[in-house]
């Protein structure tokens, strides 16, 4: 195994190398676009599944299946459909991370405490108003859980996609190149950076968001 010091020196070099930073920027931009699509589709579909029992009976299984499928398994299909390009990677992120958001959102909608619904109904919240002003906010903790997991799933899916679609500039492409040259310290340095980005975003954004929501919702 390479010495930690060697790995960290390479990490430092990478982070000051414009070519590396361009690749990292490419990956992050792709992730941002993919994640935005995941949020919109995942929450939208999850709300529909949670609200309409029939839809859930028809498509709920699909959401769970989607959520159970490892993202990497989508890449070959994506390549067959979209070729070796950006779209393929976005497709992988979306299919890899949307399921968990859908499942979390629809479960949240269906597990709103009855007392919360009752309180809303006695104050005139029915139908559509009840849905948007009572049910959706009450489901927020479960939705946030789904979004947090989706970040991790999406980040993995991004890497799986970039590794297999090596023509797109990104960190997956770098791993691909370094792996061929069998430079283990370089390879590990890249993996350290990828893991660090995943952890940093989770800790800075999602862990905080989740904590705020937990405190507010569960101790009220």
């Amino acid at each position: 195994m390479p010495a930690a010091s060697a790995v960290f020196r390479i990490v430092g070099q990478n982070l000051s190398d414009p070519a590396f930073l361009a690749a990292m920027g490419g990956s992050l931009r792709r992730m941002a676009v993919g994640y935005a699509i995941v949020v919109v589709i995942g929450i939208g579909a999850g709300l529909l599944l949670g609200r309409y029992r029939l839809l859930d009976e028809a498509f709920g299984v699909l959401a769970v299946a989607l959520h159970a499928m490892p993202a990497a398994a989508w890449v070959p299909l994506a390549i067959a459909l979209f070729g070796l390009g950006e779209t393929t990677i976005l497709f992988t992120i979306v299919l890899g991370a949307t399921g968990i958001v859908m499942v979390g959102t629809s479960a949240g909608i269906r597990s709103v405490p009855p007392l919360t619904l009752w309180a809303g109904r006695t104050m005139g919240a029915h139908g559509v108003k009840q849905f948007w002003h009572v049910i959706v906010p009450a489901a927020t903790p479960r939705i946030v859980d789904g979004l947090r997991l989706a970040w991790a799933f999406g980040w993995r899916a991004l890497m799986a996609g970039e590794l297999l679609v090596a023509s797109v500039r990104g960190m997956g492409q770098l791993i691909h190149a370094v792996a061929k040259s069998r430079q283990i310290p370089d390879l590990i340095a890249l993996m350290v950076i990828i893991a660090a980005i995943g952890i940093a975003v989770d800790g800075l954004v999602f862990a905080r968001l989740e904590r705020t929501v937990r405190v507010r919702w569960e101790t009220a």
């Binding site: 405490p113 009855p114 007392l115 009752w118 809303g120 109904r121 006695t122 104050m123 002003h133 507010r216």
Partner: protein, 300 residues
Amino acid sequence: MPIVLEGVSKRFAPNGWSAAGLPLPVRQAGGRQGQAASDLEAVQEVSLTIEDGEFVCLLGPSGCGKSTLVHLIAGLETPTAGRVLVDDQPVTGPGTDRVVVFQEAALFPWLTVLGNVEFGLRMAGLPAPERQARALEFIRLVHLGRFALAYPHQLSGGMKQRVAIARALVMHPKILLMDEPFSALDAQTRALLQRELLELWQRLKITVFFVTHNVREATVMADRVFEISARPGQIKHRYAITLPRPRSEHDPRLIAIQQRVLGSLEEEIAKVVKESMDAEYPMAPRGPVVPADRNLGSHI
């Protein structure tokens, strides 16, 4: 709006209820409700009439169906037998003319105190400046002006309950259903809110149905006190209290009424205690049963 209950019974299926006495979010697979012998009868053939503008207290031991009665009048539960009429119309669901202060505050955790109190007005489509002004007025009334922008998790239990009261009153309901609203409060706040509730009741000419297990509270406030028996809940006694308000706690007439109510209530509490002891220790030899809630006496 007179409230009329005609032979109202409510049975609950043995499955599907939570410790808090609220239905679990599981939906039942359409079984025959209220038929099985193992069903739990919470309320049995209750008939009563509450006149317009009356202040009625419901008193009874724990688990005897008081909350269930409130939920039936609110239209949140449907009776398994009998009818609930408000203003001669059968109750088919909840309405903003009958606002409920639940036993647990049941605030919305994602809204501030102000957001919670103005919620009903927002649902009614009142414009923001108007509903906020009205909400703030009621927030001040329960002495939470400084906490208007706080979230429920930042409040104590008693403060949450006061928000729940403000949230109900702000709707100017014709009927106010209150399920042990003051039981989480300290003695001073309780006395204060009792006075304020009475004042509002007189000013707004609303009908109040007020559940409590506190004899002193019931007799100080109510025009009539209904005492409900141990489960299955039935109205056991009705007391009319005609003493003028504000009533002094030291008024010997009031104390005499309290003694009578308390004696009868203790019988019911003893029944509850005996029943639960029979269930827990069926074989144990037993001396005279001491009511669990003896300290009720100290409220006088």
